[in-house]
């Protein structure tokens, strides 16, 4: 699976662990919400770098006050049509103040990347068969937008009036 981060293909240095998998020392692991909730104390004092993966039924509000513990949050797109994680991403960025890596996983194809980027995702685990070069290009398919989001593209109404 190809991983794109900040517009480049990168190696994935995170290991996604099952709830029963052992975690060794100082590695970078992605845990489930369930594991986080059960082992919060142990995990927060461990040496590992922590990431968490939420599926599309798990509203990030449940970790709103925990986001400081995570270097990475992965949000799942269970199907192309399931757009909940677009809202979740913006809430994490704009409301809960998450500054780490926000990764889109699951059904992730070229045609969602521009919007995902606008909603605050900065890394993308592409679905099998997705053209990598075109996907990187898709991150900048639009140079203008009508509305503000979690990126720094200025909405049209601000561009139009100097005073902003």
């Amino acid at each position: 699976m190809t991983l794109i981060k900040n517009g480049n293909v990168v190696e994935n240095c995170w290991r996604t662990v099952d709830d029963n998998d052992e975690i060794y020392g100082a590695e970078a692991v992605i845990v489930s919400l369930n594991r986080w909730q059960n082992e919060k104390e142990a995990l927060s004092v461990s040496n590992c770098s922590l990431g968490i993966c939420l599926n599309s039924n798990q509203h990030p509000e449940v970790i709103a006050s925990d986001v400081g513990h995570f270097y990475l949050i992965a949000l799942e797109f269970s199907a192309l049509a399931d757009g909940r994680s677009f809202s979740y991403a913006r809430l994490l960025r704009e409301r809960y103040g998450f500054k780490g890596e926000l990764r889109a996983v699951g059904e992730v194809i070229q045609d969602q990347l521009f919007f995902m980027g606008r909603c605050g995702f900065d890394s993308f685990e592409l679905s099998e068969g997705t053209n990598v070069e075109k996907s990187i290009g898709a991150l900048t398919s639009f140079s203008v937008a009508y509305q503000p989001a979690a990126d720094n593209l200025k909405p049209a109404y601000q561009l139009r009036h100097e005073s902003w």
């Binding site: 509203h59 399931d82 757009g83 995902m116 909603c119 639009f142 009508y146 989001a149 139009r160 009036h161």
Partner: protein, 551 residues
């Protein structure tokens, strides 16, 4: 009307490029039809019975002569020389090829038009009052806000994969010509006790399988909060709306299941939490947009035009058209002209490229180059000086566009049905045509008056049958077509969902059934009473008896 600046042009060009790439990937087999479907749908491209269908957005129903000419050109070049106006103030082409659609979009972009979000699970074309800005009963012109909303929802990064489609309608008038009660969000400009102007906000209205009248979620929303409040509703819906069942995915079901109180609480909480979002479009931008909708340069004219008065006493056909298709304008000496796309022998909403050109020319000459589309599938020339009415009438007569039937029994709303639509279970157009045949002379003999007769070819209700004074819904039983009748629906001020009156009728029986309903009205109406008033006064019993007792 609104005109694109550099930003709007750039955005639409980039969208065409993106779509062109999507189509070429499909043609090369680099994207599956399953993944391509939602992408083409977001661009108004459906797969129909015989071919693709492309739906072009006409933002809040407003077009210029140049735009209508382009629509005519596209109809000639890529279709069979015509188009079809829908109940969403949009235009559909029934015969484009997939390969041609990127070029069609490029043509559209050259006149500041697109097919963005005319279908799919996204915010659809914002609709509004076709008489906006010219209606005498208007508090304020809703179009600047319609345009602000259009921009906000266009290619929205967060709300482009909603549980289901989402429709916003807005009006500024007392008489609701935008059917705001049957939209996902309905907005109406209103004045509060302090004299400020804002909006009353309805949510969760809609037709289709489970029809609902919208519920009030905010009695008064200040203008500055409009976009932030819409964002709050969309965000709650995007996160909470059902995604497990296509038929329960519209916001109306969420509102219904949670109850309006609980739903409103979620929205108000989200609204409060978003108070720091920079969503205020700003006074300068609001003024910039409003300026595009300033009244045109009307000349000072007497209230009545002598020539018109004379012509109407000498020519019955003109007088009839004047009485039925011409509506009062807020400006003295001007009139609103309704262009009927419902000739008795035609298909409701169909228009040829030649007719489009003719209307574009008339608008250029007599109506400040503007045309509106209505949700009842007609067109409007909004600003005609009364002294020009005879010329406009003659111009329309030449092209079979002057059928004097606005809001009459032959002004039928009708979806494409089995003749085009792949979801259809029955035919609808032939029913409309047979009804017209039946009432051709009866309407004049009986003077049936104002009535909304709406026909849908299946439960999806694109023909708005639930809000027809008489609604007809096609249902299939064992491979045969039947037609269910609903009575008492209305989409305007006292909006109501019609009720099913009894067992469905066969295709042979349905025209007789409608005639019986009209018969009950004629024999029970009081002086000056319209069909819907009579129905509301006497109730369904007599109608029901007429339909079923003799059976």
């Amino acid at each position: 009307m609104y005109q694109y600046d550099q930003t709007d042009h750039t955005l639409i060009k980039e969208r065409v490029a993106e779509y062109r790439d999507q189509v070429s990937r499909r043609l090369e087999g680099n994207i599956s039809e399953d993944n391509f479907r939602p992408l083409r749908l977001k661009n108004g491209l459906y797969m129909q019975l015989h071919a693709y269908m492309l739906r072009v957005a006409i933002p809040y129903g407003l077009m210029s002569s140049d735009q209508l000419r382009m629509l005519a050109y596209i109809g000639r070049k890529y279709d069979k020389g015509y188009g079809h106006f829908t109940t969403r103030q949009n235009l559909q082409y029934n015969w484009p090829t997939l390969e041609d659609t990127p070029d069609i979009l490029e043509n559209l972009a050259s006149v500041e038009m697109s097919a963005i979000q005319t279908s799919g699970n996204v915010n659809r074309n914002v609709t509004s009052d076709p008489y906006a800005g010219v209606a005498p009963d208007e508090l304020e012109d809703p179009r600047p806000y319609a345009e602000i909303i259009r921009q906000f929802v266009t290619l929205h990064p967060e709300f482009s994969w909603l549980p289901r489609k989402f429709k916003i309608a807005i009006t500024g008038a007392e008489d609701d010509r935008a059917a705001i009660n049957v939209h996902d969000i309905g907005l109406k400009l209103k004045k509060n006790a302090a004299g400020e102007i804002g909006f009353i906000v309805l949510v969760g209205g809609g037709l289709g399988r489970s029809p609902f009248i919208g519920k009030v979620i905010r009695e008064f929303l200040p203008k500055d909060d409009l976009i932030r409040y819409i964002q709050a509703i969309l965000r709650v819906y995007n996160m909470e709306g059902r995604r497990d069942n296509l038929y329960k995915a519209r916001i109306k079901i969420l509102v219904h299941q949670l109850g309006i109180k609980n739903f409103a609480k979620l929205v108000e909480d989200e609204f409060k939490a978003s108070k720091d979002d920079i969503l205020l479009v700003g006074r300068e931008e609001e003024e910039r947009i409003s300026a595009f909708f300033a009244p045109p340069d009307y000349v000072k004219l007497p209230i009545d035009d002598i020539g018109v008065v004379e012509a109407s006493t000498n020519d019955n056909a003109f007088a009839e058209w004047l009485e039925r298709n011409v509506t009062r304008h807020k400006q003295a000496g001007y009139a609103i002209v309704n262009v009927s796309l419902k000739p008795l022998d035609g298909v409701p909403g169909d228009i040829t490229s030649d007719q489009m050109d003719a209307i574009a020319r008339l608008a250029e000459k007599y109506s400040f180059s503007q045309i509106r589309a209505t949700h009842r599938q007609n067109l409007v020339l909004p600003d005609v000086a009364k002294r020009d009415l005879i010329s406009v009438w003659q111009g329309l007569c030449d092209k079979n566009l002057a059928t004097a039937n606005l809001n009459r029994i032959s002004d039928i709303i009708c979806c494409p049905g089995m003749d085009y639509c792949s979801l259809a279970t029955t035919r609808s157009i032939p029913i409309a045509q047979r009804l017209n045949e039946r009432f051709k002379h009866l309407d004049n003999i009986l003077n049936i008056g104002e009535i909304h007769l709406n026909i849908s070819g299946c439960i999806n209700a694109c023909g708005h049958h639930h809000v027809g004074h008489i609604g007809i819904l096609g249902v299939e039983k064992n491979g045969e077509e039947f037609y269910q009748v609903t009575l008492g629906g209305s989409s305007s001020r006292d909006a109501e969902i019609g009720k099913i009156i009894g067992p469905a009728f066969s295709s042979e029986e349905i025209v007789d059934a409608v005639e019986k309903l009209i018969g009950v009205y004629i024999s029970n109406r009081e002086v000056g009473e319209q069909y819907l008033d009579t129905y509301r006064r006497i109730g369904p019993i007599l109608f029901k008896e007429a339909l079923y007792d003799a059976h």
